[in-house]
């Protein structure tokens, strides 16, 4: 550097470089003119052509659809599966340049009526996207793609299949054509199931087909699987028997809920009438409703065991008490009646014969606040908190507004509204020795939210009384299950409607548990308006209970406990 500097210093200043400057300027001017000319050429003269060429080699972003999670039963049997399908759409503006014979070919392959695509081409129309056929078999889509016709595209979509069909339709729900949950679990767990659509950048060719992926912008996140507490095998048995029961009794509808008595899981939840969730359109909207969870009714006599339990627990009556009934009982200005005059009854007979008079008398021994609190703790008027769409809260009259007659009617199940599920939940307290369980539609190993509502002793007392209900002279002999001890209670409820209680419109209810020595399952069955003659809970719902319970106990592998009636009992020593 130093040397260079010294050289420069020794040079003499030169002044005249005019010629060089001109050459240089001319060069620069020429270069500029060339650039402007080229820019003009590109921007103005060839714009149309270049733009088209650019669009052809278009780099664009496309969505990568994510799988919707499966809905599984407790044994991983799928209740809802998504399977990829293709949806065909066209760009009418581009179709204008396609030969009519090609369009006809596409119509034929897709099974569309002739001219269906062709008539979408309207000169001057700016439409660029029309679905022509959604959710077609991927193989068929492949065949149409092979024709590589401009303006015909396919999008990956998912079709939801429900292998169980109508059996679990109201519980699982269904999705609409855009794969968004509309009912049931599909709706309740939409955010977990749906997953997140990804995006990727792609290069398209002149026919706008994707020829290469450039990069993934965002990977798709598949939806989560939801594992329900439902056992599909029990669900099937329950649906079959409920359907048979509803049809045989010419009833309007039926609902059934089966709970695990130890964990509070819902093992079966079926409703009839049902629908095919694979094609839900055109179904009577009433069939969409999960009656067992969303519909309220007055539970009638099925609450009577709780009245006795409350009185025993609070020491308002003794176990050996005898109650005079006389067939009728005056409470204030009203009269509570029984169907027959049962005379003097003990507590077992009260439940066995379902005496309104006796339960009213028992109920009126208790202060309203205590009685109300007992019902409230059993979950009457309290939602089961499943987050199921349309799930019922139920209702229970506030005790400040009670008079004696209201308290008496509450004791035989009027003035309180409950769903089939809530009724079954209340019975878990009897089944699990006084512990009321929270309810779950998702599989779990134990109930972390169980709470004791009465003592184990009370629960066992009531249970042994309820075993008499299914004996030969009880109200629900048909609800018995061979080989198992069953405890349960019938309810035959007058339906309330506009203008009060209806004549000859009944709900037939049966709630029970088995095996009574150590209940594993609790089931509530409700049949709405049987019209074939029989309407007593024990005659209509009892047989359904019996068959479903028998099947469920077998599926669950529950050991028989009716030891004394077993046909043959061998000990290890006698088996050779």
């Amino acid at each position: 550097m130093r040397r260079f500097n010294t050289q420069k210093q020794t040079r003499k200043p030169v002044n005249d470089f005019a010629a060089r400057r001109k050459v240089l300027l001319a060069f620069m001017l020429g270069g500029m003119a060339l650039l402007v000319g080229r820019a003009f050429d590109l921007q103005v003269l060839n714009k149309q052509f270049l733009k088209q060429q650019g669009d052809m080699r278009h780099v664009s972003e496309v969505a990568v659809s994510a799988y919707r999670g499966m809905i599984l039963d407790r044994n991983d049997e799928p209740l809802a599966i998504s399977s990829p399908v293709e949806s065909a759409w066209v760009n009418p503006m581009e179709l204008a340049e396609v030969a009519p014979s090609d369009i006809k070919q596409v119509e034929q392959l897709l099974g569309l009526s002739e001219g269906k695509i062709a008539k979408l081409i309207i000169p001057g129309s700016k439409r660029q996207f029309v679905y022509v056929k959604r959710r077609i078999n991927p193989d068929l889509a492949e065949r149409v793609k092979m024709l590589s016709i401009k303006g015909v595209y396919f999008d990956r979509e998912f079709k939801r299949y429900y292998p169980a069909g109508p059996i679990s339709a109201q519980l699982v729900g269904f999705t609409n054509i855009d794969d968004v949950g509309q009912e049931g679990i599909e709706l309740a767990y939409e955010s977990l199931l749906k997953g997140v659509t990804g995006r990727k950048r792609v290069i398209r060719d002149g026919k706008r087909q994707i020829i290469a992926d450039i990069e993934a912008i965002k990977a798709p996140v598949n939806g989560q699987n939801i594992k329900l507490s439902i056992d599909e095998r029990i669900q099937y048995i329950a649906y079959r028997e409920l359907q048979a029961g509803v049809i045989e009794n010419q009833a309007d509808a039926g609902a059934l809920v089966l709970l695990d008595a130890k964990t509070g899981e819902v093992l079966a939840n079926v409703n009839y009438p049902s629908f095919n969730p694979n094609m839900p359109t055109g179904t009577n909207k009433g069939a969409f409703r999960n009656r067992g969870l969303t519909d309220l009714f007055e539970p009638g006599s099925t609450v009577k065991p709780f009245v006795i339990a409350a009185a025993l627990q609070g020491d308002f009556i003794k176990e050996g008490i005898k109650i005079e009934t006389d067939g009728a009982y005056r409470v204030g200005r009203n009269v509570v009646k029984d169907i027959h005059n049962y005379g003097t009854m003990d507590l077992t007979q009260v439940l066995k014969k379902s005496s309104n008079v006796a339960t009213s008398k028992v109920a009126l021994t208790m202060p309203p606040k205590y009685f109300w609190g007992f019902y409230h703790r059993l979950g009457f008027g309290v939602s089961a908190g499943l987050d199921f769409p349309g799930e019922a809260n139920g209702s229970l009259l506030d005790y400040h507004r009670w008079n004696n007659f209201a308290q008496a009617t509450l004791s035989f199940g009027y003035g309180v509204n409950t769903s089939v599920l809530q009724l079954a939940r209340a019975y878990t307290a009897l089944a699990d020795d006084g512990v009321l369980h929270s309810i779950s539609l998702l599989k779990r190993d134990e109930d972390s939210d169980a709470k004791r509502v009465f003592s184990s002793k009370t629960a066992k007392q009531i249970r042994s009384m309820l075993e008499h209900v299914v004996m030969q002279d009880g109200t629900a002999y048909l609800a018995r299950v061979d080989g198992y001890r069953v405890a349960g209670k019938t309810g035959t409820v007058r339906k309330a409607g506009a203008g009060g209680y209806k004549e000859k419109k009944y709900l037939s209810v049966f709630v029970g548990m088995a095996p009574a020595s150590n209940p594993r399952l609790v089931m509530a069955v409700m049949v709405d308006e049987p019209k074939a003659g029989k309407y007593y809970g024990g005659l209509v719902s009892g047989p359904v209970f019996s068959k479903v319970m028998e099947g469920a106990l077998r599926v669950m592998g529950v050991a028989q406990d009716q030891v004394e009636t077993m046909p043959l009992l061998l000990s290890n020593k006698t088996v050779q």
Partner: protein, 92 residues
Amino acid sequence: MNVVKIKVLLMMGLVVGLLGSALAVIYSKYQSRLLFIEIQKQERELDRYEVEWGQLQLELTTLAEENRVEQIAREKLRLVLPQREAIIYIKP
């Protein structure tokens, strides 16, 4: 003199380094293209398998559907639930 020599050597070294890295870039770009093509191929394959898996799963659930199983068991294989009296219980 020495300084010039060092500079020339340094320059040559840098040129060689530059050439080397340029070639390395070309090579790795080439490799990445190859890998990308491979990835795409595998992804297409994966996609195809996923479609097939979905269909097989559907087929399986359709075939194993309770209603169908029961019908075959009862009608074709003539299976019945044994009468309670016919069961011998063994209690240890």
